[in-house]
């Protein structure tokens, strides 16, 4: 791995070296390294680009790292990854995509992820997106995530896009059976002329299914963000959708949380707020000896932490 590869791996997966356990690395549209463990099997798909990841029933305290890096201009990578998390398994999945584009052509990665989560299984999925490079070519990331949750399964999904992605269109779709719980935490910062759209549809179909969706974002300069999370209660269930944004410069933000109930015991709540950094917050940090710029940075970092 060269210096750029290493930096990208650190940015998207906090990796300083190839980790122990199950691992998959995709670079410039090709699968370059792949390793299964005793309980986590990673196999290439036969009919299209991508991998199938099977976490065996009862697996405990294991993790899979599967970063994607693009270091060339003009790469257009479409990949299909299916996760089969069997009953009672407990696993951490660290994904993420970093694009280093020093050329004039766009580089794009579209990851189609499908999660099939078995009964009582427990997963945490962390996905970081990052872009860099001084070329004129855009860095584009369009992830699609489908989550199918069996009875009493649990899924916590954290997606973070902090820097350097020019355009992103995120689509997330989830179906929850009885007792399943889904927590989604989305953190996003856009700057320059970047555009970020995030659509979500969460269907709560089984009794006592629950979901919490938290979206926190900061839009700077001339960037644009659109959030459209929808929670649909089709049974006795609970869901909470919260979109919270800080707007700066000439940015534009639209936040449209939508809730729908098709059952009289569905309990669904949404909250949305867009506002600039509170002046008292800046003043307070200045009274602690920070400059206005330092105060602004602290507030944003905490908000997105």
């Amino acid at each position: 791995m060269n210096k750029i590869d290493k930096r990208m791996l650190e940015a998207v997966a906090d990796l300083h070296e190839i980790p122990q356990g199950a691992f998959s690395l995709r670079k410039n549209g090709e699968s370059t390294e792949r390793r299964s463990s005793a309980n986590i099997i990673i196999e290439p798909k036969k009919d299209k680009p991508g991998i199938d990841i099977t976490v065996k029933a009862g697996t405990k305290n294991e993790s899979v790292h599967m970063p994607v890096i693009i270091t060339e201009a003009g790469v257009n990578d479409l990949v299909y990854n299916d996760f089969y998390i069997e009953e009672n398994a407990d696993v951490l999945i660290v994904a993420g995509c970093g694009i280093h584009n020093s050329g004039d052509q766009s580089s794009e990665h579209d990851g189609i992820h499908r999660f099939h989560i078995g009964k009582n299984a427990h997963i945490k999925y962390v996905e970081k997106h990052y872009g860099e490079g001084d070329g004129k070519g855009d860095r584009i990331l369009n992830p699609t995530t489908e989550i199918y949750m069996a009875e009493n399964s649990f899924c916590e999904m954290e997606s973070v896009q902090i820097k350097g992605v020019d355009s992103t269109k995120r689509d997330t779709f989830a179906k929850l059976e009885a007792g399943a719980r889904l927590v989604i935490l989305e953190k996003l910062m856009t700057h320059g002329n970047q555009i970020a759209h995030s659509d979500m549809v969460i269907e709560l179909n089984g009794e006592d299914a629950s979901s919490q969706i938290i979206s926190r974002s900061v839009a700077k300069d001339d960037s644009e963000q659109v959030f459209y999370p929808r929670a649909v209660g089709n049974a006795k269930c609970k869901a909470h959708v919260q979109c919270d944004s800080i707007i700066m410069g000439n940015a534009h933000i639209r936040s449209i949380p939508e809730i729908a109930a098709n059952h009289c015991e569905a309990n669904i709540v949404h909250e949305a707020a867009i506002g600039r950094i509170n002046n008292d917050q800046l003043l307070k940090l200045q009274t602690l000896g920070k400059t206005e710029e330092e105060a602004e940075e602290i507030i944003i970092n905490c908000f997105l932490s």
Binding site: D280, L283, K284, Q286, T287, I299, C302, L304, S305
Partner: protein
């Protein structure tokens, strides 16, 4: 030493110009504890904000250890060792109580020290260290954390704007003891804007600000009985 010389503060609105403070002069010797009291709307908080640099006076001069700080920014004054506890502290999403205390301290604050500062303001520290300083905290909790942020700093002048507001009786007792301790140490000068008898009693000096002017100033043992006798006879406070 803090010297306020002929401080004035005017605001303009559609009804014309209004004087909030007129020709206020005060001196605070090093290590002294001054309580500023007086009726609501009299200009006390404005004066505190002017000392911190949050408001700029329309007239007059502020000297800190002989240096003119009137035109200095809030940040510059903070670096000189001046601190201010807000009457209505702001909340921060994503910032933990420990994180805020560390920011105030200037470096990562060890857990036992965080706990000591929180205990001083009547909070059970273990329950609060990792909580976010956001809307999940009650008004009284956020107020006590605000006071703890000042105690976590190494200050030469600490200004507390109505620290008692929103604080329950039990925590208030603890707070009074903490102020007593700070005052005894004589390490830092203290200005507390307060209406509380128990805080006034432990001060070195009391200044009464009403209608934008200092109507009384002197040692606490002289001013405090005078104020109390006024309350016995009338509800005016002038």
């Amino acid at each position: 030493m803090l010297e306020l010389k002929n401080i004035s503060f005017n605001v303009s609105d559609e009804l014309g110009e209004k004087e909030i403070l007129t020709d206020v002069s005060l001196t605070l010797e090093d290590g002294k504890f001054l309580v500023v009291t007086g009726p609501n709307g009299g200009g006390k908080s404005t004066l505190a904000k002017i000392i911190m640099g949050i408001q700029k006076p329309t007239g007059g001069q502020i000297l800190w250890n002989g240096i003119d700080i009137t035109e200095m920014s809030i940040t510059e004054r903070a670096k000189l060792g001046i601190g201010y506890a807000f009457q209505h502290p702001p909340r921060f999403k994503g910032l933990s109580v420990r994180g805020l205390l560390s920011l105030a301290h200037g470096e990562d604050l060890p857990e036992d020290q965080c706990c000591a500062y929180l205990t001083n303001v009547g909070l059970c520290s273990k329950d609060y260290l990792n909580r976010e300083v956001d809307s999940s905290l009650s008004g009284g909790e956020i107020k006590r954390i605000e006071i703890a942020t000042l105690m976590a700093r190494d200050l030469k002048l600490a200004i507390y704007d109505e620290p008692e507001a929103g604080i329950d009786l039990w925590s208030f007792n603890m707070l009074v003891e903490s102020f007593k301790g700070i005052s005894k140490s004589r390490k830092e000068s203290m200005i507390i804007i307060s209406h509380q008898e128990r805080i006034m009693k432990i001060a070195d000096e009391i200044a009464v600000i009403a209608n934008g002017v200092v109507s009384k100033k002197g040692p606490a043992e002289e001013i405090f009985p005078e104020l109390m006798s006024q309350f016995d006879n009338t509800c005016t406070f002038r």
